[in-house]
Subunit: 228 residues, 2 copies
DNA sequence: GTCAAACAGATTGTATGCAATTTGGTCGGG
DNA sequence: CCCGACCAAATTGCATACAATCTGTTTGAC
């Protein structure tokens, strides 16, 4: 994949937001970012435009761009939609996916199992992400797959956080099994229900966790060694 | 709403694509567009970036941006997702919408009825769009509403086209009534089914029409009075 | 003393110039 | 005659300079 420079800058800025370098409501100064990344304002502006489109920042004409972390309400809304989108994917996948795709999904789930046994949340998160993406692809609807991946990416830091809850990995795994079973049987309705519940639980767990922490700071995304 | 200059340029370029000035696969020359709109390349590039995000054009690094009309397969995929999205909105609306919102929806549908009686497809299209948007809003999920509106906008020219089929407006109206009935009764499942079928039929009708025309040219969007 | 208007500083938006890369063609070799 | 490498024209991407607008302060009048 040919990543253009504004793309990598956008990813880096995204990390800065996740890292807490920029907090909700902060103005992203163009010259300051240009200075930080050793480029001119032009690619910075392009990167900010993309982030604005992705919803991470808000662009106010003649005022600048501001970090815009979703509030509790919007976050709940997004998880609600994510659950529905994944349910759609599961329903379509149940009747459309090939045996090979099912086998791939089983493999991905086994990798999740191993990560859970090793008590490695980072590895689990990665394999879990792949598991879900395989279901998106198995829907045999490229547009749906793309939308699901976009929202998954946007919810990434929040979905990740809830894995730190004790016993969550094991619970998540058993939910995966339910989805896998329904898909194996070609039971679209049940697959949809199972995956919807799986994702909805993630949203609830995140809210639970946030209530426990009772901390307004944005969540940290964890590892990302791309900047030295 | 404060429309910035790249926004109006993006809308104008969109029209150029819908008008057939630019066809599928054409390269959008930056200097040519800059010359046409009497601005420099910078706002043109911003406008093209937004269109690329919206999916109307494709940006190939170091090559340029190309018009990218969705093919039959992708269009079918998008209608499939649109139907699912609207079904979700309807299900949520059935249990969440207020009496006032239901009254507004009834009014919108009455305007559709009047337009159909007057045999005015343009008016019908406008009121129909408002009808659907009211359901998005009635879902009480702002994020879902936004996503639905984005996809609706993208499918706009294709949804519009099928209204030219004889008897389609009357059929569409009766489908609206079914949705309205289910929503009045608070029957989420039935409301979802009815709206899903309504939108899916639109997709099918469009394909039908396209097969009749057997014309590869992109559809014309017709009127769009948003720009004075 | 308070409010309003003007001014200064800062910041975004736009224009233009330059560098890097791609493409099409042409020339040379096999 | 065909294939590969080099070259030039064109085009995108980036950097910088300038213009327009916004914000906060100050100054003046009431």
């Amino acid at each position: 994949m040919d990543r253009t420079r504004p793309d990598v800058i956008a990813a880096a800025i995204e990390q800065l937001i996740f890292d807490g370098t920029f907090c909700d409501g902060d103005r992203m100064d163009e010259v300051q970012l240009a200075d930080r990344f050793l480029v001119s304002r032009t690619p910075i502006r392009e990167a900010l435009n993309r982030l604005a489109h992705s919803g991470l920042v808000e662009h106010v004409p003649r005022r600048g761009v501001f970090v815009r972390q979703p509030g509790p309400v919007e976050l709940m809304e997004m998880f609600e939609v994510m659950a529905e989108l994944e349910a759609i994917c599961a329903r379509y996948a149940a009747s459309r996916m090939t045996d090979a795709a099912l086998a791939d999904l089983r493999e991905a789930n086994q990798r999740c199992t191993k990560a859970a046994q090793a008590n490695d949340p980072d590895a689990y998160y990665g394999h879990n992400e792949a598991f879900h993406q395989l279901i998106y692809a198995a829907s045999c609807n490229g547009f749906l797959e793309g939308e699901a991946r976009k929202l998954q990416r946007r919810l990434q830091p929040f979905r990740r956080l809830q894995l730190s809850l004790r016993g969550r990995m094991a619970q998540s795994l058993s939910e995966h099994d339910a989805v896998l079973d329904a898909l194996s049987r070609g039971d679209a309705a049940e697959a949809g229900r199972a995956l919807h519940s799986h994702v909805a639980i993630q949203g609830e767990k995140f809210h639970h966790l946030k209530a426990i922490l009772s901390d307004k700071r944005p969540p940290r995304s964890g590892t990302d060694p791309q900047r030295g």
